[in-house]
Every structure is written in C-alpha cells, then in structure tokens.
Symmetry: C2
Subunit: 243 residues, 2 copies
DNA sequence: TACACTTATTGTATTTTATACAAAATGTTA
DNA sequence: TAACATTTTGTATAAAATACAATAAGTGTA
C-alpha cells in the first residue's frame, strides 16, 4: 500500500475518505487468572449468543465510544466479579483483519490475578455461565481467544517476577511456604525450601509479624505481610525476583 | 456503565445500537530506534498537516480496514525507510478517549531498532521532514507521543536482553567490544571488559570467525558473527542476558 | 508425661558465578 | 625497535547458588 493512501497524515490526493477509517470497533478481553492452594485457573464464560454461541470464551466486551481502554477492562472485570481494585495489566493487542465475524474489531487483552475462592462470578445477560478452568485443561475457545490466553500465560510468568500482581492472591498474613507455593505453581518449578527463604530473607518488603499459624498439627510458621510501599520502591530501583 | 449496555455479547434490551460501536479508527505508531557507535536515537517526523501541523511526532498512520495491525506497522516502516525485513515488536496500546482530535482513535505502538547510518529516511507527503533525534533531547511531540516514546524506551531495555532485535544494528561481522558498547549504550551501564567477555564466552550463538579487524592501530580484534538459529533455540529454552 | 509426627527454620559445606584488577599478546606507528 | 592502544587471558577474592543435614516447635497419641 502506498503512503499516498494515507489521509490523516495530510495527503488526500488518492486517499480513502477519512470516514471510511472510522468504521471499526475495539474490544477488551480479560484473562482473569485465579489462584488457590497451588492451583492456577482462568475464568471463562460460556457465550449466550452468536457469534460462537455456547462456546467458551474470555470475558470481554466492545469498548464504548466515550470509554477509555483501561476503564473498559475494569468494567468487564467489575461486571463479572463485582471486584474492584484489582490490579490489571495490558498484555497485547490482537488485530487480524478477520478475527471477528461482525466486522473489523481489534481487541486489547488485559490480565488480572485473583484468589478464586474469594470470588463467585455471576452469570450475566451475555454469559450463559461462568467457570474457573484449570489452565492445563482448556476447552475450545471462541474467536482467537486461545491465542490470547497462551500469550497471557507467558506474560503472567514475567509479571509475577517484576510486579506485585500477586498481592491479591495471598492472604493479608501469609507464610513463606505459601509464598513459595504460589511461585512454584505459576512458574511451574520447584525450589529448595531453605534456599528460597534465604533469598527472601533480605527483602525489605516482607514484614515479619509477631504472630504464628494456629491449629496446625506441626510446628507453626511465622506469618508475614507485604509492605506495598517498600515493594514499589524496590521495584522502581529495578528489583525483580530471579527465581 | 451497566453490563446491560453491552450488545455484542447478546443483550440488547437497553443497548446502544451496534453500528454506534463501529465508528472508531485505530492507528499504529512506530518508535524506530537508531543505533550507531554508542549513540541511540529515534526517528521523528515533522507533521505536514493538521492536527499538530509542524509538530514533531512518531511516524504512524491509520490502519486500513483490510489491513492487519502488524502489516500496518510494517507499511509505515517501509514507507519511511524503504527497509523491509526489520524485526518489529508491539509495545503497548494507548486508548484514552480524547487522545486524537479527529475522533476516537486508539493507537498501537510498535518498536524497531536499526543502524541509523545505513538508512536515509525520506520525507514524504505526510512528513515535512524526518530526523534522527538523540533520545536524551526530544522536542515537544504531537498527541500523546511523548508518553509512547517513554514507554518504548523502557521496553527496549527489556527487549535487548531477551530478543535479538539488536541483530540489525551490528555489522555482519562484529567485535565483542562493539557488542559490549551496544549494550552499554542502550542499558546506560558500564561493564568490565574482561568479565563481559567471560560471560559471553560460553554463548553458542556467537560464532568466532577466522578473521580479525583490519587497519586499526592497535591489536586487532577477533570478529564474531551471530548464529540466529542458535540464538532462537537458546531463547526458546529461556535464555536471556543478565547484564 | 513422653514420644512420634510433621513442617518450619537454621546451618554448613561445596560449587558456581561475579568482581576487580593485572599481565600478556598483537597489531600499528614513529 | 620501541612506544602505543587495545585485545585477550589470567588470577585472586568475594559473593551467591545449591544440596543437604540438623534442630526447633508445635499437635496428637500411648
């Protein structure tokens, strides 16, 4: 395509009328990962209408003309889970010409991570049902959602090492074992217990509490909490886990 | 916004007619980084028309209705530099409601890295002029392009450690010193010469050639070349530089 | 109470990697 | 041939990663 087709940049000699450009839509799709006790799942909806009626799909929606992209992603998350205040991250934008049967629709994928037992997603007008699916067993998905999901799983692995998106999956007070199990699950690796703790022992963002586990039939663990401020400032200086 | 406004998902009781969603456009903007001899620059254009006439801006264009996102980014790069076969990477999508004066336009930012002396970008119908600007001295930019650029500089630092987008900035045959200088420049760090080489000495993707520098007034360096295949397979196994 | 049991926590010895710095090598140039 | 500039190799030390063992502190049970 010659540059001269361009209009918005100023040359309209052979240009497509600009109104022909303003006939597209964009959507957001949310990859909502759920973690609990060593299991990683993803929240899917079963579509209630065409196209791809009855197919499982990532929850998503068209973006309103007067709505920011990030707001749209938060809205979808909110509609489905009633959760606000969940950190979300943009992953990638998928824009193949024919990816949507109804017209030209590109979609911006977002990723979130929550504790899935704390959350009962409601079916909604547009979702026949919602269900947590283990990431290891995913049904056939609508649109290009499998590609979006695969990409997001990779991105999640990077993100847990650099950002505190895991802050919502651990209880307010957690043990180092829980902390380790989470990373083992997401990264799909095992760590030596002693060495894992040694690595974390200097971390300024882990506050050791004067409290221990209760009612466990073994030596109770010390409890820790996350100091978000200190994590952010460590991150700003370039900190990342090197698991 | 209530979920019930959604239409594409199936509920049209209170919905905005779907045609009202298909009134947006999207563009791509290319952050073309140029490297040469320890200097990092970015290619900007001076806009030839409104909006933001005469402002410096990232090269970009609206995406045609029948054009994939990646193709559009390649087209912009091609129009401006006549270079094909440059690896590009999607960075982020910027979608604030009012980011474009002509209507709802979200933009997908792409990043590329080239050797800037090998390239004479042409001014074009839509670009009054083009110029390489050192990343340390950037003029006021049109739209939200400063935000896009800042974000891309950060992404570049991550990308050079994990992907071979640097493959186009080094000559076919290069010295380890050149290799080191490139990373020092982009990452804005200094490395010990001996230790830097030691780290690289095991790298299977660096082929040592039976050839040395010519016409240098000091001990000539051995020349190396990149084995792309081996780099890719190392990368697939999780390799990344840890500079 | 004493002892088994389970997991937490600390420790230690070994290997590997990073770092700082120096020495030697190899071309050009005067 | 010696000065010069950079490459290349080496070495000594410090730091970090790893494997694995020992000890601690609860619960449950004889």
């Amino acid at each position: 395509m010659p540059a001269s087709r361009s209009l918005i940049q100023g040359d309209d000699m052979y240009a497509i009328p600009i109104r022909d450009f303003f006939k597209s839509a964009f959507s957001v799709d949310c990859v909502i990962f759920g973690y609990h006790a060593g299991e990683l799942k993803v929240l899917l909806i079963q579509r209630g209408s065409e196209p791809f009626e009855n197919f499982w799909a990532l929850p998503g929606d068209l973006v309103y003309p007067d709505e920011d992209l990030d707001s749209a992603a938060n809205r979808v998350l909110m509609d489905l889970t009633s959760l606000t205040d969940i950190p979300i991250r943009q992953v990638h934008t998928f824009g193949k010409v024919d990816r949507h049967p109804l017209g030209r629709v590109i979609t911006v994928a977002y990723l979130a991570l929550v504790e899935f037992t704390e959350l009962s997603p409601h079916a909604s007008s547009w979702a026949r049902q919602t269900r947590w699916h283990p990431i290891s067993r995913i049904p056939r998905l609508a649109f290009d959602h499998k590609e979006i999901l695969d990409r997001s799983v990779l991105d999640l692995k990077t993100l847990v090492l650099t950002e505190d998106i895991w802050s919502k999956v651990l209880p307010e007070k957690f043990t180092l074992t829980q902390f380790q199990e989470f990373f083992e699950c997401v990264l799909n690796k095992r760590f030596d217990k002693g060495n894992f703790r040694k690595k974390l022992s200097g971390a300024p963002f882990l506050r050791q509490l004067n409290e221990t586990q209760k009612n466990v039939s073994h030596r109770p663990s010390l409890l820790y909490s996350l100091d978000r401020k200190k994590f952010q400032s460590a991150r700003a200086k370039g900190f990342a886990f090197d698991f």
